[in-house]
């Protein structure tokens, strides 16, 4: 098997199970939302029925809200809530000073989780905290759960953190490996710097030498479509450094908080971020990898541009053009929206799944109990079987040896 780096990516679970087209993504979220809504309505109806029966004894009248129909969230609203949870995750990660990978993995876990579950069913705070805990474990950073929960704030306890752990891992379909573009960006940066210095090892079918490439690079315009400039080596490296910084910032924020991981590969994501940071350099770099005349090149550029558009549409994206004030205004708007949504959410939560700790304990107790039952059943079965065999031997006589005669 001759594998290229693309093939290696194709063998990853991120590609196999967690990559979708935009249409598939929306369809899935719709499905999840519908199912969850049904669940909620059924559960609420059931609860009301119980309370109604109970209250037949005392003449309490049902409260206003219960008589009304439950209004559930729409998929778009759910998505907004999920984004909020991701924000929370990011703040938590920053607060605890975790490496970027861990926070990023956590955010992706949350997004993946809510692809198949709804915020109405499982409350975001719990899930986010536990997702952070799992992300730490997945990145070989094993925490003491007590220590972790104390960092999460007064409201959290070790049981609360552990309760949804199993649930989340199941919803993630046991794929705990998330491939991030951070290291990829570093790798790209390494190559770019070498390219700038004229030292890059050229690909076998490259048409230009390293020095030619270097010269070309030194003359790249600062902005797309702008005039060619003449830079010196150090200036170029400084430019690359700045591009790296901005791209890294984008990757840690906007790229994570959008659906980019589902729709694009990490390689395309880091290139998209770099494109936003410094378009001419990125395009030039790509042209050294794939000749512009090749059809893949234009396709790739289109894909990367699409990814860039997606990322830059996120409200945390701050290009040079928009000011800090604009960003604040956007943030404020977002906060108000979220407040309204949270209020709405409170009305349509699935009552069965509110207390995950008790749920978890109940399941575990069942499991052990069932496990014990199973053992007993198995033993009984075995003893029965042995009993039969003994009887059979007693009646028919023991089995004739293979060589002792016909059988």
């Amino acid at each position: 098997m001759k594998l290229t780096e693309d093939d290696i990516y194709r063998s990853s679970t991120q590609y196999r199970n967690w990559s979708f087209t935009p249409a598939q993504l929306t369809a899935q979220r719709l499905k999840t939302n519908q199912q969850a809504s049904e669940r909620v309505k059924a559960a609420v109806a059931r609860q009301r029925a119980q309370r109604a029966r109970q209250s037949q004894l005392d003449s309490a009248n049902t409260s206003e809200s219960e008589r009304n129909e439950v209004v559930c969230l729409t998929p778009e609203e759910e998505l907004k809530l999920v984004d909020t949870f991701c924000d929370v995750a990011q703040k938590l990660g920053d607060f605890c000073n975790y490496p970027a990978e861990i926070t990023a993995t956590c955010i992706q876990f949350v997004r993946r989780f809510y692809l198949f579950n709804s915020p109405m069913t499982y409350e975001g705070q719990n899930i986010t905290r536990t997702a952070m805990f799992i992300a730490n474990k997945a990145e070989s950073h094993f925490l003491d759960v007590e220590v972790f929960s104390s960092q999460c704030g007064k409201n959290s306890t070790a049981e609360k953190i552990l309760a949804p752990e199993y649930l989340i891992i199941q919803a993630l379909r046991y794929n705990l490996d998330v491939k991030h573009p951070f290291r990829a960006l570093k790798g790209g940066h390494l190559e770019l710097v070498e390219l700038a210095r004229g030292n890059l090892a050229t690909l076998p079918n490259a048409s230009q030498t390293a020095t030619e490439l270097q010269n070309e690079m030194l003359q790249l315009p600062r902005k797309a479509g702008g005039p060619a400039v003449k830079m010196t080596g150090p200036e170029l490296e400084k430019r690359l450094g700045e591009a790296y910084g901005f791209a890294a910032y984008i990757l840690k924020t906007a790229a994570l908080l959008t659906d980019s991981y589902f729709l694009y590969t990490p390689s395309q994501i880091w290139l998209a971020a770099h494109l936003l940071a410094d378009e001419p350099v990125t395009l030039f770099y790509l042209s050294t990898k794939i000749p512009p005349s090749h059809p893949t090149y234009s396709k790739l550029v289109t894909t990367i541009r699409a990814c860039a558009t997606l990322i830059s549409s996120h409200r945390s994206y701050r290009s040079d053009r928009s000011s800090a004030e604009e960003k604040d205004i956007r943030d404020q708007q977002a906060r108000e929206e979220i407040k309204a949504l949270v209020k709405k959410l409170r009305q349509c939560r699935d009552p069965d799944k509110v207390d995950l700790v008790k749920l978890n304990q109940a399941q575990k107790r069942d499991a052990v109990h069932e496990g014990g039952l199973e053992e007993n059943k198995a033993k009984r079965r075995k003893l029965q079987r042995e009993g039969y065999e003994k009887e059979a031997d007693g009646f028919w006589g023991p089995d004739i040896a293979k060589n002792g005669g016909g059988k």
């Binding site: 098997m1 001759k2 594998l3 290229t4 780096e5 693309d6 093939d7 290696i8 990516y9 194709r10 063998s11 590609y15 196999r16 199970n17 990559s19 979708f20 087209t21 935009p22 598939q24 369809a27 899935q28 499905k31 692809l115 198949f116 379909r173 491939k179 573009p181 290291r183 990829a184 960006l185 570093k186 790798g187 790209g188 940066h189 390494l190 190559e191 710097v193 070498e194 030292n199 890059l200 090892a201 050229t202 690909l203 729709l263 694009y264 590969t265 990490p266 390689s267 395309q268 880091w270 290139l271 990898k289 794939i290 893949t296 396709k299 790739l300 894909t303």
Partner: protein, 309 residues
């Protein structure tokens, strides 16, 4: 089981040698030998007496075949006809040794078996003997030409019994005879014989086994990046600092692994366009297991082979 017509008085106990008429009673150690040329049997002493000086004609009256001493052997079966048949089968089996695996379909294999059996019956019952022998000869030639090994020794024509050709060896032998006759016609078409004597349909192409290639320690696997070449050295200090840090280098931390990994990440999936590749899916999120790959170690193939690459 034997339905042999009995000669007057003699039982299958072979008490009397047909040539010298000496009986076992007089010579308790008398052993009978038989010659596959004509399947006449005689006692050892006769063989010694008659053939020690070289080939001589068979002493049984009416059989004019020249026999040699060396070809005499003990009789394996009580019934000489069976002996003869077995000899014929043995010889033919050497020429027609194809297995089911050599044929595309079961039907073809069965047709082949039918043809071979028909030929055998022709030989045994001496139907169209000349034509059959000729065809066998041609087939034999064809086989020797086909194989690159040294020439096979000439397989002698199956010996033929001149007498007893009317004997029916099996039930339905007459029918067989007719069928055989028809078959022959079918096979030979309009009377002309195929060049090689026999044509079998549905033979799989026999591929000559390739000479063994030198052992590949990777067993065919390789990982070659297509978008980049890993250099031995990069110089961006804040990324590549481990190479100077003794805490890293003493333990075998290889900074080239870092480069390699960063670049693999950077380009892994560059050419993977999810929009296209994930488009027709039966259900979103259908769990896909890793494709099962074949076993390594020596070139064998496992039964499961789902290749996504």
């Amino acid at each position: 089981m034997s339905k042999t017509a009995t000669r007057a008085g003699a039982t299958s106990k072979d008490d009397i040698c047909p040539v010298c008429k000496s009986s076992r009673y007089l010579n308790p150690n008398m052993k009978f030998l038989v010659n596959p040329e004509c399947y006449h049997k005689m006692c050892e002493s006769c063989v010694d007496r008659i053939f020690s000086h070289g080939p001589a004609p068979c002493p049984i009256a009416g059989c004019k075949r020249t026999l040699r001493k060396a070809r005499f052997r003990r009789q394996t079966f009580e019934d000489l006809k069976v002996e003869r048949e077995v000899d014929i089968r043995r010889k033919v089996a050497k020429l027609f040794d194809k297995e089911q695996d050599d044929f595309e379909t079961l039907r073809d294999y069965n047709d082949y078996l039918e043809t071979v059996e028909t030929t055998l019956w022709n030989l045994i019952l001496k139907i169209d003997l000349e034509a059959t022998n000729r065809r066998i000869g041609l087939w034999q030639q064809h086989l020797t030409e086909e194989s690159n090994s040294t020439q096979r020794t000439q397989v002698e024509d199956p010996s033929l019994l001149t007498d007893k050709s009317h004997v029916i060896l099996k039930k339905g032998g007459t029918q067989r005879k007719n069928v055989a006759g028809i078959k022959q016609d079918l096979l030979t078409g309009v009377g002309d014989e195929p060049e090689t004597g026999f044509v079998f349909r549905g033979l799989k192409k026999r591929v000559a086994p390739e000479p063994e290639k030198p052992y590949d320690p990777y067993n065919g696997w390789s990982i070659e990046p297509q978008y980049y070449v890993v250099q031995d050295d990069y110089n961006v200090d804040w990324i590549t600092h481990p190479k100077h840090d003794p805490a890293f280098t003493v333990g075998g931390y290889d900074v080239r692994d870092l480069y390699s990994r960063a670049l693999c990440d950077a380009f892994g999936g560059l050419g993977v366009f999810i929009e296209d590749e994930k488009a027709p899916q039966p259900s979103v999120g259908a769990a896909t297991a890793l494709p099962v790959v074949d076993g390594g170690g020596g070139g064998g193939q496992d039964v499961n082979m789902d290749d996504i690459f």
